[in-house]
Each structure stands twice: as C-alpha cells, then as structure tokens.
C-alpha cells in the first residue's frame, strides 16, 4: 500500500522524492516511522472531522443522560488519543536508538567543515601526504559505516543529505557528528539546512557512493599534487591564477597557491559541480563564475575578476585540466 502511494507520487512528480527515497538503513528506519505516524495522524484527522460533521447535522437534546454519554465519549476519545500518542512515542524512541548507534571502530571518518557558503571536506590520515582535502563533494564506499565529524568556525550550518539520514547542525565551538551506512551506489544531493547568511540557499554538496575499489582509486588520485600544465596555454593559465587574487583564497597543491579561505582547487576538474553544487562544472559555467561570481551568487565571498579574453580562456582551460 505504501509502495503504491510512493510510486504514485513519484510518477506524479517525476523525480527523486528524496527523504522517502532511502539509500541507507538510517533513512529507511526514519521513513518507516514516518509512515506509521503519518497514517495514524490521517486517521485521527478524518475521525475528528467526521464526528464534527455528524454532530453539526444531527438534531439532539441536552438532557442529563446525554450529558453522561457525552462525558464517556469525550473521556474515551481522550484515552484513545493518549494511547495512540504512546504508540507513536515508543516507535519514535526505538527508531531514534536504531538510527543513532555509534559508528564502531571500522567506520570511515571524514571531517566536514562548514563555511559561509561551501563545504570543506577532509579525509584525515596519520601520514600527512595521504590527507585528502576537497570541497563540496563527499565520496564514500558503499556498505561501509561512515562517520562525518562536523565543525565550523563561522556561523551555524546544518548538513542534510535526505536520502541517507536526517540532518545535523554544525555549531561553532562544538563538535557534532553524523553517522550513516549507504546501501546503494549513486549520487545524492545534500544542502545546508540552517540559515547561515546570504547564500544559504545555494550551499549544496554531492554525496557520491561508489564501489570500494572505485573509492580507493578516487582517494589515491586526490592524494596526488596538482597536474602539471602540459602546454603553454595551460602554463599561462596557471600564471594568471598565481599572479591574480585567486591564490590569496584558494589552494592548488603543487603550486604556490596556498589560500585557505575558499575551496581547494587541486582536483577541481574531477568534481562534477562548482559553486557549492549550484552549477555544473563546464567551461561556460566556470568562466562565468570566475568573471562574475556575484551575479550568480550575490553576496558570496568571491569577487568579480575582469580578465581579458585570452587570460580567461587559458585560466579556465588550466582549471579544467586539474583532474
């Protein structure tokens, strides 16, 4: 019955019905709980309105025996309500326990730091040159518990990837975490879910769940320093990057660019989106972003850069070479 309903709504809307399109046991547990509570609530609403409707059209008296009957009905209805609430409370607490089981020692730990208005992603390692830093894209292997360690140094954000779990706030001065175990390979959208300033609306990220081998390959690739430019045009593009304001905020490992206020661009071309998952990573979008990010995301921290056409083309070509 539930599946028919969900499928019907799917069909009606024609796209991912995210929170109910579960890709992890946590999301599944939440969805099941949700349907239980939902149907109880629908039943209660229908009953209350039905009683109201019948009561409005009936002709009745106010005699004393009716009063006693009324008292019993009201008391009974209250009792039934209390019972239903108890059922929902119990189900809720049980699900809460199930969803919040601790990660355990074999979990993959990833550090996510929220910034105004992008996500810094870091895969820690005890060996310093095996640390991976990227932005706005989370890669994880399928069927392994992942524990995201959440932090922020500016304002409160909230990480929300509906397909895999509920949300968790990132709070300055406090450490929070979000644990999940993805069961399905695919790409899932996430976003910030706590108002954090001008570009809260466009602070998204992607979660990419991969087969374990692909994931390891990706990690290895991300560990490499940036690709050296293979042609003069790309070299020129790198020069534009290093001699312009870009290096004050961005890092490209393997070059002199070591800014920490903006996303790490070392492997920018390996990501499918830019601007915190709000634009596809194509030449046109990238060029537009570089030239006038304010027009695309007004109020964000990236200033406009009026470059000459050759400079812009070479810069974009260089950035697109950073696989």
């Amino acid at each position: 019955m539930k599946r028919i309903f969900v499928a019907a709504v799917f069909a009606a809307n024609g796209c991912a019905y995210e929170a109910l399109d579960r890709a992890s046991p946590e999301a599944s547990a939440i969805t099941n709980l949700h349907w239980l509570i939902f149907w109880i609530c629908v039943a209660v609403w229908v009953l209350v309105l039905a009683f109201l409707a019948v009561g409005l059209v009936r002709r009745g008296s106010t005699a004393a025996q009716d009063d006693r009957r009324r008292t019993l009905v009201v008391a009974g209805a209250t009792g039934v309500s209390a019972l239903l609430l108890l059922v929902m409370l119990t189900a809720s607490v049980i699900t809460g326990r199930a969803v919040a089981t601790p990660a355990g020692p074999g979990a993959l730990e990833i550090e996510v730091t929220g910034h105004q208005w992008w996500w810094e992603i870091r895969y820690p390692s005890s060996v310093s040159d095996r640390v991976v830093v990227t932005a706005n894209e989370l890669h994880v292997p399928v069927d392994r518990t992942v524990r995201l360690r959440l932090a922020t140094n500016d304002v409160i954000h909230s990480l929300w990837i509906p397909n895999i779990n509920g949300k968790k706030d990132l709070i300055p001065g406090r450490a929070t975490s979000l644990t999940f175990r993805p069961r399905r390979i695919g790409t899932f959208g996430g976003r910030c879910a706590e108002f954090c300033g001008y570009q809260h609306a466009k602070m998204g990220l992607l979660l990419i769940v991969q087969p374990p081998a692909d994931f390891e390959a990706w990690l290895d690739q991300q560990r490499q320093p940036s690709v050296e430019p293979a042609e003069t045009a790309l070299e020129h593009g790198r020069d534009v990057f290093l001699h312009g304001p870009c290096a004050t905020c961005h890092t490209i490992r393997g070059t002199a660019a070591f800014g920490h206020k903006a996303p790490d661009l070392t492997h920018l071309a390996s990501r499918s989106t830019i601007a915190a998952a709000s634009l596809p990573n194509t030449i046109g979008h990238l060029a537009g972003w570089v030239v006038d990010a304010q027009r695309i995301k007004p109020g964000n921290r990236m200033p406009p850069n009026l470059l000459s056409a050759p400079d812009l083309l070479d810069l974009v070509a260089y950035l697109r070479s950073l696989r």
């Binding site: 209660v44 209350v48 002709r59 008292t71 009201v74 699900t95």
Partner: protein, 634 residues
C-alpha cells in the same frame, strides 16, 4: 442575519430619572480628555484595547505584504525579484512583525477590551501604566520599520541565531534595532499581563466565583500568566545578545567560555510558550463563538479549564524540540518528544468538548461560526503535523524545511488567525455598534480558507522533496516549481480575502446594520451593556449567580451604593468574588506618553551611543515624579 436578540426585561430602577442622573454623573466622572491632544491622555481600557487591535492589524497587513513579496520571489525558480540581502531582511521582518507586532498584541488588545467587560468592572486597575504599554509597543514598531525602510533592517531571521546575529556576521544597526524592539514589545506585554491578571482576580462582579468565569477570560488569564513567566527568558536572551554586540560580553562566544546554543535555549524557552500565548486566547474565542452559535454553554467547563492550564504548563517544557538537530543527548531528546506529543492531549480534550457541545445543537451558521469550522479543519492538521515533528528521527528529516513552515502556519493561521477573524466578526458589533456584512463575510471566509490551504498545503510536500527554509531561490531541476507556484497563487487568493475583509470593515463602519446590546444572544456580561459600551462600561455593576449570566438571570442583580463622583472600582475577593472594598484609579494623563518617550528614546538612542539609555533613565525620573504628583487628578 442573526436571530433577533432576545432582550430580557431590564431591571427597573426606582424611577428612571434617578438612573439618568446616575448615567450623567458616571459619564462626567469617567469622561476622557477631548480633542486631538486628548488622544495622548487616554486611559480607558477600551480605547487602548482598540489601539492595540488596530495597530496590530496594520502590522498584519505589512507582514502580509512581506509574505507576498516572498511568494512572488519564490513563485519561479532563479527569480531575480529580490536579491538575497533584501530577501533575508524581508523574511526577518515578516517573522518579527507577525510574531511580535501582530499576533501577541492583537490578543493583548482583544483581552484588554473584553476582559473588564466580561468580568463586570469599569477599567483595568492601573490605567496609566496600561497606556505606557501601548506607547512602548508603537515605538518598537516605528523603530523596527525605521531601520527596514532605510535598507538596514535586521536580516538574521526572527529567531536571530548567534553567531550569525552577532557583531562579526551582522555588523550595523539592524540587529541592534531588533534586540531593542524585543524590549519594547516584551515590556508592553508584561504591562498588559499584570493589568489583566489583577483585573480577573480582584475585580470580578460579585457572585462571579472562579468557577463562573467565562472560558475566554480563563484563556486570557492563563495566557497572561504565561507571559509573566516566558518574557523574562527573552529579556535575558535579548539582553545578552545586546551586551555581546555592544559591550563585548561573551555569552555566545565559544572562544571565551560562551556557547552558541545558550542563545537557542534562552530564546526557545521563551519562543515556545510564545506560540501558546498567541494560541490560547484564540481557543477562548472559539468557546465564546460556539456557545453563542449553539445557544449552549460549552460542555465540560472544568475539563476545558484544566485543559487550558495543562496546555500552558506543558508549553514550558517543549522548547528543545526546536533544537533536535544540534546533537543533544538522546535521553533529553526523548523527554522533549514525550512532552511535545503529550501536549496534544489537553488540546484534544478541548476539541472533543467543543464537538460534544455542537452535537445535535443545530447551530446558527453565522460568519463567526464559519471561521470556527475553518479552525477545526486547519488547526487539527497543524496539530497533527506537530506530532509528526515531535518525533526526533522524523524531525531530523523535516526540520528547517518547508514542512515546518506548513506546520506552523497551519497552527498559527488555522489555530489563531481563523478564530481571530471569527472573533472580529463576533465582537465588532459590540465594539462599534454595527454588524459586519454577512455576504462579504462569507466570501472573506471562503477565499481565506481556500487560499490558505492552497498556499500552505503544498509546502508539506515541498519539505518531503527536500526544500529547505529561508532560501531566496531554488534551482529549476529540483522538481519544486509547480508546488511553489501553487503556493504563490494561494497567497494571492489570501490577499484578496484580506482585502474583502478590509472592505467589509470600512463599509460596515459607515453603513452596517446597527447592533443592539446583544445581537448574537450570547451569555456573557459584555453583551449586557450598550454597543459600543459607555466609558464607564455598566451603569450598575452587575451581580451574577451563574456561568451564563445573560441566559440565567435567576439570583442575579446589580450593585448599589457605589459613589459615582470618583473613578472607583469595586474590588472583590479573589476566589469567591465577595465584595472587599472600593479602590480609586487615576484618570487621563499625558505622563504615560511622556515617560514612554523618555525611556523609549533612551533605548533607541542606545543603539547609536550606549549612554543614551542611562540618560533616558535619568530623564525619566522627574517624569515619574510628575506622574506620582498628579496621580489624584481626575
């Protein structure tokens, strides 16, 4: 039209000319200051109540325009109607206006107007202080909109979470102004609360023991007690934010031992009771309208009162449900889930008792009753989505999405604004002496009902689809387009409904059918005097012997022996309303206005230079002295 008002024969005084003399003397004793300047002197609870109501409705309209702007912006993806800076100011202003400047003050105003009438007294106990409350409220509104029209309005949401609302991320005077308006509105609410609590406990008509108080008065009394306990929390929160911003304290700075969550705890400890402060008076209105429409007293009086008390009490134990995503310990979360679900029980009791009252009653289908039916339909949905959100795992998916926007508009508009409109249609005849038009009223209701559901029902689904709150735009490929467009169309319909309401009000003020004392044949004391009531409310203070004094006059009567040459209130004992003594209250004065100016300007000035607050306080001392000096002047 309503059935012809049944007028029970009036008590015959020994010689009508004696009564005329009494009226004349009362009118002279309780007269107000004349002229335009006299407006600054008013201390009549009905005048001040009307001011609160009208001012609140003006803010409702402005808040509605802000909502319209948001819906225009969100009607299409990637719209450029409002940029993110203005959008953030608009949604902050919408929330702040609706919560602080419309919803609470309108309930305060209706309570101020009706409660003294319903308990059978002539004015509130501290009439001049009451005037201060209104001026403070007005000044707060002027301050808020002053900053907004200069494009320097607050922009961190009505809930102003730190650190976003702190100095580092919201420099400039917008947030400073926001913090100050909290002071203005909360002082105003506390003043009304103190006035009405004392009115209800000490000024009831003889014979109106506690178990004979109208349910509306119970609702207001309990609400006012909630105000007393909830406002201090927002005083602490806003005061701490103010001092963090302007004095360099570290309440919310984790680097020096502070905590961002302290703000959330303090704010929501106030914020959750705040919505019940808005909601409980509406429940009182529903009781009044249902009993008038069904010509029956509400079933289960004691259960209804206990349900109101339980709701108020439990309302203070829910605040953490706004913080489920912040990573609090699970045991704590379970407690707040239980409390948040439990509060549905007393509300349920009320709904069941109302249905029991209606059962078989063949009610009169007047416009106020239609709004009550709209309340049933919409509020129950809102309450049930609240139960859904009370569950932590479900909340973690739906928190901060449009599902929550749908939920709270269903409970606030469904649960408070629909009864409010019903209340306006119900009491407009008493306040103005004219009936509101019925046909226009039916259209008003129908368009508001359809428009409201069209606007907010799709938002439930938008939440499931993953659309977060407080976003100035969205991308076209998310699948949110159709639902947003539907919501915006619904908003347009709501705007038309409100326009019809305004037309109805203005037309009826001029040409509405004249209302007698009791056009609805209702049961409570406000209907026992003329429409509108004279300045002194009643020629003779009534004596009651039943819960429905106008239906059940056996044992009732009136008070004699009260001098009419001074502004005297009859004070009765708190529990059984036996007469205790007579107490004089002051008459019109400009000092309340003056002291509101000195203190208010001091607070406003402190936004720019801290010492203005101290100067304001010092300058207020001679004004306070002048006030005390002139207390006896009639």
């Amino acid at each position: 039209m309503s059935s012809p008002a049944e007028k029970a024969p009036r008590e015959k005084a020994p010689g009508d000319s004696a009564e005329e003399r009494e009226r004349a003397e009362l009118a002279r004793t309780w007269r107000k200051r004349s002229g335009k300047l006299g407006l600054l002197f008013s201390v009549d609870h009905k005048t001040i109540g009307k001011r609160y109501i009208i001012t609140a409705f003006v803010f409702f309209l402005v808040g509605g325009l802000e909502a319209a702007a948001m819906r225009l912006q969100l009607a299409r993806p990637e719209s450029r109607f409002l940029n993110p800076d203005i959008y953030a100011q608009v949604f902050t202003m919408h929330g702040t206006t609706m919560m602080f400047f419309f919803a609470v003050p309108v309930m305060l105003g209706i309570g101020l107007y009706l409660v003294p009438l319903m308990v059978g007294t002539r004015n509130v106990p501290f009439p001049r202080l009451n005037a201060v409350g209104y001026w403070f409220y007005l000044m707060g509104g002027v301050l808020l909109y002053g900053t907004f029209v200069m494009n320097r309005g607050p922009d961190a949401g009505w809930f102003a979470y730190v650190p976003l609302s702190g100095n580092a991320y919201s420099a400039g005077h917008g947030m400073d102004a926001w913090v100050q308006i909290i002071n203005f509105t909360e002082v105003s609410a506390l003043i009304v609360a103190a006035s009405l609590i004392v009115t209800v406990f000490k000024q009831r008509a003889p014979g109106m023991s506690l178990n004979r108080i109208p349910l509306f008065v119970w609702a207001i009394l309990i609400t006012m007690i909630m105000v007393i306990f909830a406002m201090p929390a927002v005083i602490f929160a806003a005061g701490s934010l103010n001092s963090d911003r302007s004095l360099g304290t570290h309440f919310f700075n984790p680097a020096e031992g502070g905590d961002a969550l302290l703000w959330q705890h303090a704010f929501w400890f106030f914020g959750h009771p705040e919505v019940y402060i808005i909601f409980l008076p509406a429940l009182g209105m529903v009781s009044s309208i249902i009993s008038a429409s069904t010509r029956r007293p509400i079933f289960g009086y004691t259960a209804m009162v206990l349900a109101l008390v339980a709701t108020a009490f439990l309302g203070f134990g829910l605040w953490v449900h706004h913080m489920f995503a912040t990573g609090l310990p699970q045991m704590g979360e379970a407690f707040f889930t239980a409390a948040s679900m439990m509060i549905a029980i007393p509300t349920g009791v009320q709904i069941f008792c109302w249905i029991a009252t209606l059962w078989g009653s063949r009610p009169r289908w007047d416009v106020p009753f239609l709004f009550v039916l709209g309340f049933f339909f919409t509020f129950v949905i809102g309450g049930l989505t609240g139960v859904m959100l009370a569950s932590v795992p479900v909340d973690l998916q739906l928190h901060d999405t449009f599902f929550v926007v749908a939920h709270f508009h269903y409970v606030l508009i469904g649960g408070a604004v629909f009864p409010l409109f019903g209340g306006v249609y119900h009491w407009f005849p008493k306040i103005t002496g004219r009936m509101l038009g019925r046909t226009l009223g039916i259209w008003n209701f129908a368009l508001l009902f359809v428009g409201f559901n069209l606007t907010f029902f799709p938002m439930h689904e938008l939440g499931f689809h993953g659309m977060p709150r407080r976003v100035y735009t969205y991308s076209p490929d998310r699948g949110w387009n159709g639902l947003n467009l539907a919501a915006s169309l619904g908003a347009a319909l709501m705007a038309v409904a409100v326009a019809l309401f305004l037309i109805n009000v203005f037309r009826s003020l001029r040409r509405g059918a004249r209302a007698g004392e009791n056009p609805w044949n209702a049961e409570t004391l406000e209907w026992a005097t003329s429409s509108p009531p004279p300045a002194y409310n009643f020629v003779r203070i009534p004596v009651v012997a039943s819960r429905s004094p106008l239906w059940d006059r056996e044992g009732g009567g009136f008070v004699t022996g009260m001098p009419t040459d001074k502004r005297l209130l009859l004070v009765t004992h708190a529990l059984d309303a036996e007469p205790s003594h007579r107490e004089e209250v002051p008459g019109p004065s400009v000092n309340p206005f003056l002291i509101s100016l000195t203190m208010g300007l001091g607070l406003i000035g402190s936004i720019f230079w801290l010492w203005w607050a101290v100067i304001g306080a010092f300058v207020s001392i001679p004004v306070a002295f002048l006030w005390y000096w002139t207390e006896e002047e009639p």
